[in-house]
Symmetry: C3
Subunit: 279 residues, 3 copies
Amino acid sequence: MEKPILVFQTDFTYKEGAVCSMYGVVKSTDRTLEIFDGTHEIPHFDTWSASYRLYQSMRFWPKGTIFVSVVDPGVGTARKACIAKTKDGYYIVTPDNGALTHLKEYVGIEEVREIDEAVNRLKSTEGTSIFHGRDLFGYCAAKLASGIITYEEVGPAYSIDEIVVHEIHQPTFSEGKAEGIFEICDPNFGNLWSNIPVDEFIEKGFNYGDIINLTIRHENEVVYHEKVPFAKSFGFVKQGEPVVYTNELMKVAVAISLGNFRETYHVDFGHDWVVELEK
Amino acid sequence: MEKPILVFQTDFTYKEGAVCSMYGVVKSTDRTLEIFDGTHEIPHFDTWSASYRLYQSMRFWPKGTIFVSVVDPGVGTARKACIAKTKDGYYIVTPDNGALTHLKEYVGIEEVREIDEAVNRLKSTEGTSIFHGRDLFGYCAAKLASGIITYEEVGPAYSIDEIVVHEIHQPTFSEGKAEGIFEICDPNFGNLWSNIPVDEFIEKGFNYGDIINLTIRHENEVVYHEKVPFAKSFGFVKQGEPVVYTNELMKVAVAISLGNFRETYHVDFGHDWVVELEK
Amino acid sequence: MEKPILVFQTDFTYKEGAVCSMYGVVKSTDRTLEIFDGTHEIPHFDTWSASYRLYQSMRFWPKGTIFVSVVDPGVGTARKACIAKTKDGYYIVTPDNGALTHLKEYVGIEEVREIDEAVNRLKSTEGTSIFHGRDLFGYCAAKLASGIITYEEVGPAYSIDEIVVHEIHQPTFSEGKAEGIFEICDPNFGNLWSNIPVDEFIEKGFNYGDIINLTIRHENEVVYHEKVPFAKSFGFVKQGEPVVYTNELMKVAVAISLGNFRETYHVDFGHDWVVELEK
């Protein structure tokens, strides 16, 4: 059987030698393992974004792929280090600090095990407690991928109910109206992604081509209120104009064609960024 | 026969999960495919730079390598999605939006085919129209690399004359004089690269060691005019001093030794940035 | 025998096509070679940082791994191009310009050879002298990794004493006191890493849980002086508070919990940044 691929995401950036050291440990454990960068530019200490990025990309990888997510503000403290297995057959090696939020809610966690540091931690670096990406998560993931340990040998299972999660906000709908939050952004193009599934949105009477009353509130104050077209892609509106569109995860999102909505209108994501769409 | 390597370039950055999702689709199509990053930091929507970066790096890869270039401001609109084959044996999977400009001009396109979305698009994501890097270009490139489809099965061929290209500016020469434009920069070190081939430059009487009258005009206004040495490398002038040199593609370029010409003199690239060199 | 992995570090960034061209040359030399990014974000021309990053990550890779380090302000000039072999069995392909400093001091260099450009330079690009990462270091490293040349065939050996090195500063100790410099930073999280080994530090009477008098001087002027706890990790102090901790290389370092010490206190690294710790 083919060994699973390892996909890493962290808030380390590639500016110095941390990612390189981490990958070195993997290749020293098993030279044949295949490693991919997810992203190393998760915002510092942002376990919500870590959770969302896992949810965003995981489904596109082969079943069995092992994701290593190291956004770990509590490194070296009592927070659990775990490996979760999703109901659709992927593994996530991560501190149990909220990074499993979206997968638990939208995909389902089948099993979770606490990494036993006594056997699954790199021995040569035991004097330091601040780089578990290299010494614990990366190393243990490599052992699992390689077949050196089974999933059961990661460490003891614990209750899925104990997994640390962030609060997830659900959108609300009525005929011709939908309300949700911006739950993440595209930090590159400056698009904002809501938590409103397009399927339900369309069910409530919205169609491509509609002009929509779009209202964005931050802490209950209106920061944006305009009529904006709902279109299949950016190019259906003129350069510089806003558009409501269906994003890559089939959720309602907003953008500026050839522009940056987030920077232009100083809009961001989080539970206090409410988006309302009305016909 | 070995399967070709896939080299990706985009304007996505690595800040979030887009590249990761795209590569997941490739590995789900064929686990054995080999993927490399070209660059994911093409300036947003800049199909000229996309074209130049393909031209810059392609020749150094093994024949048969498949380049996937996704700088796609028109994603989801009527612009063609294509796979071109160069006269020297490489493939480029790209929106037909100018990204083939330099390869068509300097290498030659042997054949170009429009991707048939009915058969070569990822089925599971058909509800969204804004991520063809993942759903069309990456997926179809993986099928081609894997041998699941032949080049002919990409879709119908169309005339090479129909390929969308940007205007290419040609340098002009007289004895002891050359004029061209800065056609691209090195955004890292701040060097500016002209479109003047060094071979012709030297033929017109320029030699390493010469002191050259270098004039740079922007929209016909002189923004830089100095005597600058022509040298084989940066270290032949003192730190902080400008130099005319032969760049990695054998074109005339300008730099500051251990400095940044572009930022220091507020010089940039494009058809309205004219460079004149005179003995 | 398995071919060694190639790990590259440069100051090129991934913004344009340089890394891509360099890796293309490797894969054209031997399609089966495995390439990893170390970092391509070494500060421009900073051979000290190049040296430190090699030292930071190398030990975690399989023995025999070949590191290619291209921070090369003197490209095309008389500086030597070399391949060094460490006493613990790694290879480094680099300009001999200080990049071997830490490995020579802390690991030991067993042998060093000057690359013979007459045989180990890419022929097709001989008209340009400014991209040895692609044309010399990457190409020669690929030949060595592939087994096309032996280590002896790289070129003539020269004396290890001739290797260009930066000055290394040693820490000083007395009972209950340690003094050193910040020799590098973590540019991502803003932590500062001293040259003081934790083992000696603890030997001089310091223990986790101690409150330490931490003094930082720049050019003999005190820029920071506070009582700071010595802890195993960041999370043992409150958010926003400073901490003295044991870094990933078992040296004494300073950080702000969930913050950025370097930016907050305008502290940096170098021989003129002295750190003093007293009980």
